[in-house]
Structure formats: C-alpha cells, structure tokens
Amino acid sequence: MNSKRGSGSLRGYVHGILDPARLVELVDHCDVVVEARGTFCPEPVIRMQNAAALMSPGQVAMVVADDAGIEIDLPAWCISTRNEYLGVLREERFLRAFIRRAPARTADQD
C-alpha cells in the first residue's frame, strides 16, 4: 500500500543512452521522421505517440521540433511508456530528439 518510490525528482533533464556522435549518424538512418516544427507542447509528443503506435519494436524515430519542451517531455514519455530515449541534438533553431520503440511487453515484464 505504502510503496515508496525511488525515482526521485524528474524535474531535471534525462540524458539519452547514445552519445551525440551516434545520434548524428542516426539523422539520415532513422526509420521514422516526425516533423513537429511550428507546433507547441503537447503536440510534438502527440505526434511522436501517434507515430510510435505504427512502429515496430526496435525501430528508431527522430522528432524534429522547435519547442524546447520536447527535451524534457519526451524522456518522461519514454520512461512512462518503456520506449528508449536515445538523446537529443540541439541545432541552431530546432531540436532533433530520438527514441527507439520498445519491444512488446511480455508477462515477465509486468
């Protein structure tokens, strides 16, 4: 009933699991590109969520957005949905954030 949580504060940034050099390689090799420039939160996450619903496990998506909120909301969405947050590249006027679609959940994971 009174289970304590160990995750602590999520106010800060969550770092992706890939380094920037690897992310640069992914720019031209990701499976799905989600264009969200000119939209505001939560729209970029909604677009990512809708795209992810059509992706296969293991596929990589890149969301391109100019709303800085994506940098803090996408990692949170990944934690809650068990997708992998790979990281973000900050360009001059926009961001590229990367996720990898989680494998389908199994009984063992629940």
Binding site: S3, R5, G8, S9, L10, F40, A76
Partner: protein
Amino acid sequence: MTDDKIRALGLMSGGLDSTLAANLMQNLGIEVLGLHFSTGFCVADRHRLLGNSNNRDKPYRNDALHAGAQLEVPVEIIDIKDRYLPEVVLHPKHGYGSGMNPCIDCRIFMLQRAKEILQERGYDFVFTGEVLGQRPMSQRRPPMQAIEIEAGLEGLLLRPLSAQVLPATIPEERGWVDRSKLFGIVGRGRHKQMQLADEFGLTDYPQPAGGCCFLPDENYARKLRDLLTHNGPDVDPDDMMLLKVGRHFRLGDEVKVIVGRHESENDFLERFRDGRGSVWLDAFSSPLTLIEGSPSAADLEFACRITARYSAGRTEAEVPVRWRLDGQEGQLVVRPLSEDRQLDEIRI
C-alpha cells in the same frame, strides 16, 4: 500481462490528486493506463509556450507525462482540441461556471471518450482523482452522479480518494479493489493528499494552483467571447493560441491588436507574425504588437500609439514607430497614448 489482471483507465492531469489516485490503484495491483486530455485550454500549456523566464535553458514540463514517468505508468495524450470547442465549450448542456468553463460537460465528454477506449481495448473500469466537495461546479455529489450516468459509466467510475463517502462501485463490489484501502477525503483542503504523497514517496508534484484550465478565468473568457462574436465559431487554431498571451484591444469589428507584456510574450508573438500586421519601436525598448484583420490608416496609427504607450518612450512627446503590413514596411511618428481611459474603452 496476465489475463486475469484487472486493468483500469485513469484520467491524469498530472496534478497531485490524479497522481495519487493512479499510485493507489497501482498499489492495489491494478494495471493502469493514464489518459491525459489535451483540450487546448490548459494553463500549464501557456507556461510552456512562454518558456521559463528564470532559466531559459530549462523549459516547463508536461505534468501528466512526468507523473507517468514517476509512477512508471504509461500515459497517453488524447487530443480532443478539434471537438472540444464546438461540442463542449460552445454548447454546454449543463451551463458555465464563473467564466466560460463548462466543467460538467467537460467531465462527461472526457469520460465518454474514456468509455470508448475502455470498450475498444478491454479495460475493466475508469478512475479519476476527483475529490468530493473540492470544486464548486463538478465535484458536488449530484453532478458527480449525473456525470457518471451521462458518461455511460454507471458503476464503473471509481473516485478512489473519496470512494468511502460515495456509493460502492462495481470494482469495489466485485472485489477488484478493496474499498477499505480507499479514502474518504472531502473538501478543498489538501492536507490529507500531501500526507498521502509523503507516504507514497511522491516528492515531485505540482503545487495546487486552483485548477489547470483557462476557461474559468473571466479575463480569458471575455477574450474568447469576443473572438467568437467577431470571427464566428469556426475559429483558427492560431487565434485561439493567441488568446493566451498579451493585452488585447479591439479597434473595430474586424480589427484587433495584441500587445506583448514582456520579453517572453514578445518572443511568442514573433512566431505568429507571418500573415499579420505588426508594430514595434526601434528607438526604445518596446512590446511587439500584432494586428489581426485589415486595419484602416487610422487603425494603424492608433495601434502605433498604443504600442508607444507601452514602450520605454511613453513619456516622450513623439516617438517613431515601425510597422509592417501586407508585405510593406514603414514608420509613423506618433504621440504615445496617454489616456488610460481610451485604452479601457477598447480593452477586451
């Protein structure tokens, strides 16, 4: 995922109450999917639009997503913006609250959508973080009952934070959740919820701030009514977005100006400059003003005088004001508006 596990949909705003409700359901062994409805009228969205002026490198967050991350509960954002204005805000069956807030119809609409998802995906019941007596319009006993019935969720809507002072629901009667482990919280106080948060180890939640929706705000409601009166119900999403920022003045039936109040609002308005007239000062620190509609020469001059009034050159006898309209640019030298009465007459 075992076949006999009870599965519930939780309405999650990301506030403390809905986070506690989701946490409580998890602790009772229920598999939870959080639903976060994006109406387009969320106050928190405005904070994010304008950015964090204290730390520009650290944007505001979406509280529902972060609650989901903290609980490790999947949260799905349900985009209802397109249907929400015409179907809920404009024609509420149960009327408005203090502003243009159709709280009861809003709740019914969201729960009807939750019911659809429940049926499509085979969930067992729906829960919310509602607390009896916490809000004057939708969280009293009669409307709470009416909401449950009109949403088509009779017996399947659990409010775990107040469950012990409400009639037992199907999840309780069938033993899916243990009623004795639920709560009987009543009223506007937050002491019990904060105590529970401490017990659950929830340390990172937004402070209660009197609601998360723009529609009860009388200033916002006035701007929305004005927009609907002059533009009709088929409004442009950008126009809706612009209601959230700036000082709004109506110069004519089809002409409105929006004056930024600070740097963050100016930056935000900048993104909407294409397709609209704009006015600003180069010689003094000034707001950015957007012009909606097709202004006459007199309207343009008045917009310049208003902009000068809110600039650092407001005490000058005359100031040069830049304008851009329909692909042309120019400058007018104007006397800053000095009479607040003139502004009050046209302020929306």
